[in-house]
Amino acid sequence: MPASGIQGPGVAGKPSTSSVSAGAAAAETTRFPRSRWALLRSLKITFAGLLALIVVILIGLAALNSEANLLFLLFSLSVGLVVFGAVVPLFMIRWIEVERVISRAAVAGRVLPVSYVVRNHGRWGAAWGLVIEETAAASFLHLPRGFVQELPAGGHERVELLAHCPRRGRYPLKGVRARSSFPLGLFSCEVVFPAEAEIVVYPALGSLRGNPWRDQRWADAQTSRQRRAGLAAEELDGLREYRDGDPLRLIHWRRSAHAGDLVVRDSPPAQPTQLILLLDPWPDSDFGGEGKPDRRRKRKASPVDPEQQDREVELIISAAATAACDALERGHRVGLIARGQVPVIIPPGSGRVQRQRVLHELTMLRAGSPEMLDELVSRIRWSSGWHARCLLCVSELNDQHRRLARFLSRRAEMVSMVAPGTAWFDSVFIPAPPIAPEASSERRGP
């Protein structure tokens, strides 16, 4: 069953439209055409233009030296072409406006649709060879570039692209750049539209085999909890009169005999189950004492491959996120305790808001906490006690984790270890597969 969670853009709200400074949000500041001086300053010479200029200068020098008039003629025509190559993009780019349409949230490893709506406000003269790109490249989020071959005057085109972000995190976007070096590629003129936005890329969501939350031991644990609460299996919270349609098996015959009327059992609302995720994705750098590596696991010989380690960390976070989303979807309450640069403690909760919160914290989780997980856990005093199933997600099991597991097992209903190589990780969790792209492109003229 595919893991739920972020289905696509729009789940977190409407896709954000990062408009240009001359767009709808600041219409009073829109001015077309743009300042010539500003455009002139943005005129840059390309590598091909530089080579062409060098060749033209050399031809000019040869003409001056040899007094060959045909070389003069060639030189002067070339200068004319260079000027033509500089002037055309200046005039074209003046009337261009670009608007970015992108979702605020995405999931790592999944497609992130991006659209750019390009408009040509000029009344005459099409724009050619427009390249649309982001101004600042955020790490791990490289948005593709759009290309518009021809944009008629007064027309607009929507360029749809599919971006891909392999890693979770928060990625700021600064603005959009439209540039053109048409017709000869010697000079490039660009205009930048400040369009600040932020994209939150949630951890990759895989799926879980079956319904791991229907584990018999957990049900038994639930029952024993109920017993401890003084509730017998027969003792119910209340009785009520029989209503047409009630199943016959719910009839409480003894009470009915006493009451002289049919009475049925009124089953109490099922107590929501709780799942607490304890996450320690980064292996402990201190290998003395508490943080000794698990000798039972075959670890790679040192030196540790940082990329491999990084992948494992992301995998474990993905597993935690998958588990959280799955449990929340099934109506369970989920809490989170995570060891990171900023320790995360989220009391159990349910619903969409809780899911957002958990995923957000998992997205922002960074390494660098001096506090160990067991120290973190020891500071927590749940009001309802640890009546929950605990899922201890680590990338590298060590003695400290085992001690923590023992601690939790005395307080929680059930403790499961999730780490690469454990049964839960290998047989229950299915990492997120790649998804085939799909998109479209449409264009409208004036």
Binding site: E67, A68, S76, L77, V79, L143, E150, E160, A436
Partner: protein, 764 residues
């Protein structure tokens, strides 16, 4: 390759336009066949097979081989570097055309095609270059624009594939070429821009001087003509006599600047003169040849002439008064020997392309000094005939009344037989010597011409039988009696010398292809010729042409091509005059002519307002002298001027507006600041000066803290805190400053003004 049919066609057209004429100009049939064959193979492969004709590995090998050939040509074959480079570039483009091309390779081959234009500009002056330029500004420009779009799209697609694996499915399957209409629009706009700006730069750019950066001559060795060498040797027969390669052109006018009608076959343009036949059996110059003994003459027989205001007289004007003249306007490619062609005798030289020349008084040959431009223009004024008095003047300049007869040295092996022939010819004149030496000499010379022109002798361009150890002229006169003009002229000169008559062999050009459109003669290599000058008393040197009339067969084009050839020559002539030979004097003439044309409607008005008024009146009122064509031109000119004025006004207006806005904004800001600072404007100066020294107040410091820190760090700024305190008092305390305080502050600011960052750092 198949996604861009138009681009492929453009490449074929451009490459053919440059490579084929270059191959023809080099007279290389092999190269021409290779070029045409390769282009044909590429086209067939593209159209029929839809596949590349050449595999990529083989293409690489061919490119390497072409590069190797370039080195061979340059190092071993002594080929001109530019020409060798052009061979490599053409090979490169052909290989790319035959292969499956990526966008990058298409761009490479197009760029190389454009670079071939540079080669064509260096080695060619032909009007074909103009046609190739037009082709490049249309077809080539369009191809470049299309290619740019394709390359740009390719770059974006490549980037997208790299950053997002999902984009592969979005990338379009095919390519889209530029539409026909926008392609034409942009090509036209680009071409017009290039032409307008290019014409302006071409006309107005200075022609600074020749070779200021060093020698850059791509045409060494490209020009050599029959006989214009240091000697006339019969062992080296040039094949240029059949070539149509243009050497230059000449226009003939009389002293009234009317066209001078020259009798057939056209003007005899003298180059060099040889007056002694000599033989040598050793060294590089072994064999018999005619030499110029002028090398051994005393320097006083040479006259050095400096051109003043572009003109120099070779004879005193008083000596040549009332003599009819022929003005020859030459436009010539400069040869290595720097000899000025001219009709005999030249009396005046005019040119802006050189400043001085040497004239040999014996043979009247004109020499130039120094490095010349590839094409030079000059005017020679010659006498149409040599009257007796002028002959006397020339003799006086020569320093002797009768030139020396230079007999062969050593004597000819069969001199006795040659003397027998001389005696026979003398007898055939049937005129006694004593009657009149001048008349007799003329009769004798004519007899020689008659003898050499008889059926005994035959004109041929084939090499005569090998002379071996035989002396070639004797062999010609006595044995095979077949040869070309040099033989005939040399033989006649020899026969005259053996009769005691001074005679010399002259080499140069005879006639030319007359162009009736432009009224000028086109001088080609095939017009190279040799004739004889015989000294006849009271007539100076008289010209005789002993070569039979058979070689005067007009080798002009077939009649049905004559008209086309005439037009082509005329266009070539105007192209060469207006573009290839364009220089400062041409520019001056151009502007002068334009100014004269402009002044025609204005009449005699001197005042500018009246002139403009007269011009405008002429536009709207009909004047009989101004035809429709001229009127339209004036209208066009007036509209252009108006457009230019409006454009310039617009540009300057916008600039003025910017400047005004900027200035006003600064003024407002200053006024605002003044309103805030009030009497504390000294604080603004203080801040500005600190900024110029690189000292800026951090945001988390107050001015007082900043000043205290400055005083601590830099002893020279110890008064800074007092300035800030004064500012506080004035700005916020509404207090004033005492005159002593003002003076103190001004003195500090004055010291600050003279401080520089280095001094400040040194005192910290």
């Amino acid at each position: 390759m198949n996604g861009y049919p138009r681009l492929f066609r453009s490449q074929v057209v451009l490459l053919s336009a440059v490579a084929v004429p270059l191959a023809i100009a080099e007279d290389s049939l092999v190269r021409l066949i290779l070029v045409v064959g390769a282009i044909g193979a590429a086209v067939l492969s593209y159209v029929w097979r839809n596949k590349p004709a050449l595999a990529i590995p083989l293409g690489r090998i061919l490119v390497l081989a072409a590069f190797g050939w370039l080195i061979v040509e340059y190092v071993w074959l002594d080929e001109i570097p530019v020409v060798a480079l052009s061979h490599f570039m053409i090979s490169f483009c052909l290989v790319k055309l035959l292969q499956f091309q990526t966008d990058r390779e298409r761009a490479q081959s197009l760029v190389v095609c454009f670079l071939l234009l540079v080669v064509a500009a260096i080695v060619s002056g032909d009007i074909l270059f103009f046609l190739v330029l037009v082709l490049y500004l249309t077809v080539g420009l369009r191809a470049l624009i299309s290619l740019h779009l394709a390359v740009e799209r390719g770059r974006v697609d490549h980037y997208n594939r790299r950053v997002s694996p999902f984009m592969a499915a979005l990338l379009p399957g095919g390519t889209r070429e530029l539409g026909k209409r926008p392609a034409m629009d942009f090509t036209f706009a680009g071409a017009m821009t290039a032409i307008v700006i290019g014409a302006a730069i071409f006309v107005l750019s200075p022609r600074a001087g020749v070779g200021m950066l060093g020698h850059l001559d791509a045409r060494d060795g490209a020009i050599s003509v029959t006989g214009l060498g240091s000697s006339l040797s019969f062992d080296r027969i040039s094949r240029i006599q059949t070539s149509d390669q243009e050497v230059g052109s000449v226009r003939l006018k009389d002293e009234n600047h009317q066209e001078y009608s020259c009798p057939e076959p056209g003007p005899y343009l003298r180059g060099l003169v040889y007056d002694q036949y000599s033989g040598s059996s050793a060294g590089r110059r072994s064999g018999w040849e005619w030499r110029k003994t002028g090398d051994r003459t005393a320097p006083m027989r040479e006259q050095h002439c400096s051109l003043v205001a572009g003109s120099a007289s070779l004879l005193s004007p008083a000596d040549i008064e009332d003599a009819s003249r022929v003005v020859q306007e030459f436009r010539m490619r400069s040869s290595d020997l720097h000899v000025l062609l001219a009709m005999y005798p030249a009396i005046e030289v005019r040119s802006d392309d050189f400043e001085s020349l040497r004239k040999n008084n014996d043979d009247q040959v004109l020499w130039l000094h120094g490095r010349l431009r590839p094409s030079i223009r000059y005017e020679i004024v010659s006498l149409a005939g040599v009257p007796e008095e002028i002959a006397a003047v020339l003799a006086k300049k020569r320093g002797r009344s009768e030139p020396i007869v230079q007999l062969p040295d050593p004597p000819l092996p069969r001199e006795d037989r040659v003397r027998e022939l001389v005696a026979k010819l003398s007898a055939d004149t049937k005129m006694p010597v004593a009657v009149d030496d001048a008349r007799w000499r003329r009769a004798y010379a004519e007899q020689i011409c008659k003898y050499l022109g008889s059926s005994e002798f035959a004109y041929t361009l084939e090499r005569p039988p090998p002379a071996g150890r035989r002396e070639p002229l004797s062999a010609f006169l006595l044995d095979h009696k077949r040869g070309h003009c040099e033989y005939f002229a040399a033989a006649m000169a020899l026969l005259c010398q053996y009769r005691g008559i001074p005679a010399r062999v002259v080499t140069g050009y005879r006639g030319g292809d007359y162009n009736s459109l432009g009224h000028y003669y086109v001088i080609r290599q095939k017009h190279a010729h040799s004739w004889v000058e015989v000294y006849i008393p009271r007539s100076d040197w008289v010209q005789f042409d002993p070569t039979p009339a058979a070689n005067q067969v007009d080798r002009a084009a077939r009649p049905w091509l004559a008209g086309l050839a005439s037009w082509r020559d005329y266009l070539q002539f105007e192209w060469a005059n207006l573009v290839v030979s364009y220089d400062a004097s041409t520019r001056t003439q151009l502007f002068r002519g334009f100014a004269d044309w402009l002044r025609r409607p204005v009449g005699d008005h001197k005042n500018i307002i009246e002139s403009v008024g007269a011009f405008i009146r002429e536009l709207f009122w009909w004047r009989a002298e101004l035809g429709l064509y001229n009127r339209l031109l004036y209208w066009f000119f007036a509209i252009m001027v108006l457009v230019m004025v409006v454009l310039l006004g617009y540009v300057f207006g916008v600039l003025g507006l910017w400047a005004g806005r900027y200035g006003w904004a600064r003024h407002l800001a200053r006024a605002q600041e003044d309103a805030v600072l009030g009497d504390a404007e000294f604080y603004r100066r203080f801040r500005r000066r600190l900024r110029s020294l690189g000292l800026r107040r951090p945001a988390d410091q107050t001015p007082a803290e900043f000043a205290a820190e400055l005083a601590r760090r830099y002893p020279s700024l110890s008064d800074a805190p007092s300035v800030v305190r004064a500012y506080y008092r004035v700005a916020f305390g509404r207090g004033g400053l005492l005159p002593s305080e003002k003076a103190h502050i001004e003195a500090f600011l004055q010291r600050l003004r003279t401080l520089d960052p280095a001094q400040l750092a040194a005192t910290s």
